[in-house]
């Protein structure tokens, strides 16, 4: 049950980071923190019922999250290479 609370706390922290962190890299990082919390929640659910199914779901989830992270980082890097921007604040794109 402790881990249920831990998971909730991690979710809250990750969300806070995603909303308030301005730098893209840190947003991606926060997303991963958040993901950890979500997966942990699955873990708690799995542990309560001794159930392998949620564990399998988490494995799928981790792989998908990794793919998302890799994709996001490539976008961040490309954005940085082309424009030097490190945030997604609104800018002159809206004319």
């Amino acid at each position: 049950m402790i881990y249920g609370l831990v998971a909730s706390a991690l979710v809250a922290l990750g969300l806070y980071g995603l909303v308030t962190q301005p730098a893209l890299l840190r947003k991606v990082l926060a997303f991963n923190l958040l993901g950890g919390g979500v997966f942990l929640l699955f873990g708690v659910v799995a542990a309560r019922g001794g159930d392998p199914v949620p564990q399998a779901l988490v494995i799928t989830g981790i792989v998908v999250a990794f793919a998302a992270t890799a994709l996001a980082l490539v976008l961040v890097l490309r954005l940085f290479q082309i424009t030097g921007a490190a945030t997604i604040a609104e800018d002159e794109t809206r004319r």
Binding site: L34, V38, G49, V64, L71, L75, L79, T83
Partner: protein
């Protein structure tokens, strides 16, 4: 619920584009293009057979993957709504395939280029993802489908490789990821509470307890974020407007609909009615705000594609008016509202795809997409302007378009249900829509200055594809309403 005959079709519809994508990716751009060209008619045929099957049986077609019945295994289900969306998807994708050949063809012997390979592969990829999202009967399986959709949409939108687009797409990706995480959180709670994620099984057991409530709100908001319902639309205008036309058409027309169907499944299957009654007015209120705000902002856009994108923000709003009209209404009213909502999703898909394609052709022909400078567009790309106008009719809800029938059904059920205020929103939205469509058309119809030169020749086939989709969106309204009884099957 048992597996039904014909379930193999569901698997094929899902697996065929995936296989095409994998082989196309491995064999290179030209192979991917050829596979997509073959897949288009095949896909339409399969969707048609499936649709006929559902109509014939007047019941959903169900398959259990690997023969494992839920809760242990995964079910694929094609009810009327799914069959209709699959058909819509197949037709629009086939149209886009035709449209995109002019832009992304690889000549024999030419070296493989980046954009064509990515385009054709992701066209197939999106198709697979959409099919998975419409057919999925398990909430986690649907999560994976949504992620596929996000990745595919992202890649297609970035195809032009412009710097501004990367920023727009990052906003999209990050917001969509928050949406995914919210959705996943809800899934975890639901599994913890019920030990299954199968939609049908959940619909029998769902309670109104704390885990369910938290799961419902998280999943709903996650999906709303992915759909860009006002005020969560921050990513949509730039992301959809900046993409290449073929991609924008897919994104605006179809991709947001996947989350919508999932949301319908969540609320009209999984969640208990008491919770739905509490949430429905809020959703509809957001929808109303989306209609009014989106249309007002669209009116002010200086650029054609952004205008079309904001129109999507507004039109998405209509999809949510159905919630309070279906929830807690008499069966007949609920059926009407349901049909209206589904038809809005379908007719908007055609109309918006047509609009984006037409806008793309116009923008290329004119060399820009500033609305104020579109004089002469009707001469450069007459069919596209016509397509834009016809699609506009459907969005405004002018008869006999599909949009009209959809809005008419919603309007009627709003009045039946005694909730006339939604009816006001519907008509006000139609008026505003008329405003922004007219802005574009009147500019496009004006005679250009004498020294005007088109920036690029316009591909007649692309124009015809856009027109064809627009015509479908209009003709949908001429179908007898009985045809839309389809979307009630398995509700």
């Amino acid at each position: 619920m048992e597996a039904t005959p014909g379930g193999f079709l569901l698997v094929l519809i899902l697996v065929a584009p995936v296989t095409g994508l994998l082989i196309g990716f491995a064999q290179g751009g030209r192979a991917a293009e050829r596979i997509a060209l073959w897949a288009a008619p095949l896909g339409v045929t399969m969707a048609m057979v499936l649709l006929a099957g559902v109509l014939h049986a007047q019941a959903p077609i169900v398959a259990f993957v690997g023969g494992w019945a839920p809760p242990l295994g995964l079910a694929l289900r094609a009810d009327g709504l799914a069959a209709a969306m699959l058909m819509t998807t197949a037709v629009i994708i086939a149209a886009i395939t035709l449209f995109a050949r002019a832009d992304y063809t690889t000549l024999p012997g030419a070296p493989e280029a980046r954009a064509p390979l990515a385009f054709w592969c992701f066209l197939l990829a999106l198709w697979a993802a959409l099919n998975a999202a419409f057919l999925g009967g398990d909430l986690f399986n649907l999560f994976v489908a949504l992620e596929m959709l996000t990745f595919g949409a992202l890649a297609l939108a970035c195809l032009d490789g412009r710097a501004t687009q990367f920023k727009a797409e990052l906003r999209y990706l990050l917001f969509a990821l928050i949406g995914s995480v919210f959705y996943l959180l809800g899934t975890a709670l639901l599994y913890g509470a019920y030990g299954t994620l199968d939609i049908l099984l959940l619909s029998r057991t769902a309670r109104s307890d704390a885990p369910t409530i938290v799961a419902a709100s998280l999943m709903t908001v996650g999906l709303l974020g992915k759909m860009a319902l006002f005020p969560l639309h921050l990513w949509l205008p730039a992301a959809h407007a900046g993409a290449p036309p073929a991609a924008s058409a897919l994104l605006s027309g179809l991709v947001v609909k996947a989350s919508y169907v999932l949301l319908l499944r969540l609320w009209f299957w999984v969640m208990p009615a008491a919770l739905l009654l509490a949430v429905a007015p809020i959703l509809a209120l957001l929808g109303a705000a989306a209609i009014l705000f989106g249309s007002l902002v669209a009116l002010r856009q200086a650029r054609l594609k952004l205008l079309v994108a904001y129109s999507t923000v507004a039109q998405i709003g209509y999809l949510f008016l159905m919630f309070p009209l279906v929830a807690g209404s008499a069966a007949e009213v609920a059926e009407r509202a349901w049909t209206g909502g589904a038809l809005q999703a379908i007719s908007h898909a055609f109309a918006k795809a047509a609009m984006f394609l037409a806008a793309g052709v116009i923008a290329r022909g004119m060399g820009h997409d500033r609305i104020a400078g579109l004089h002469g567009a009707a001469r450069v790309a007459p069919l596209s302007v016509l397509a834009f106008g016809l699609a506009g009719l459907s969005l405004m809800g002018i008869p006999p378009s599909g949009g009209f029938t959809a809005k008419w059904l919603l309007l009627q059920s709003a009045l039946y249900a005694g909730q006339w205020w939604w009816a006001l929103v519907i008509v006000a939205g139609g008026l505003l829509t008329g405003g922004y469509v007219f802005r574009v058309l009147s500019a496009a119809m004006r005679a250009p200055s004498p020294d005007f030169m088109p920036a690029a020749p316009v591909d007649a086939r692309q124009e015809r594809v856009a027109l064809g989709l627009a015509i479908i969106s209009v003709v949908l309204g001429l179908l007898p309403l009985a045809a839309f009884g389809l979307v009630l099957i398995g509700r």
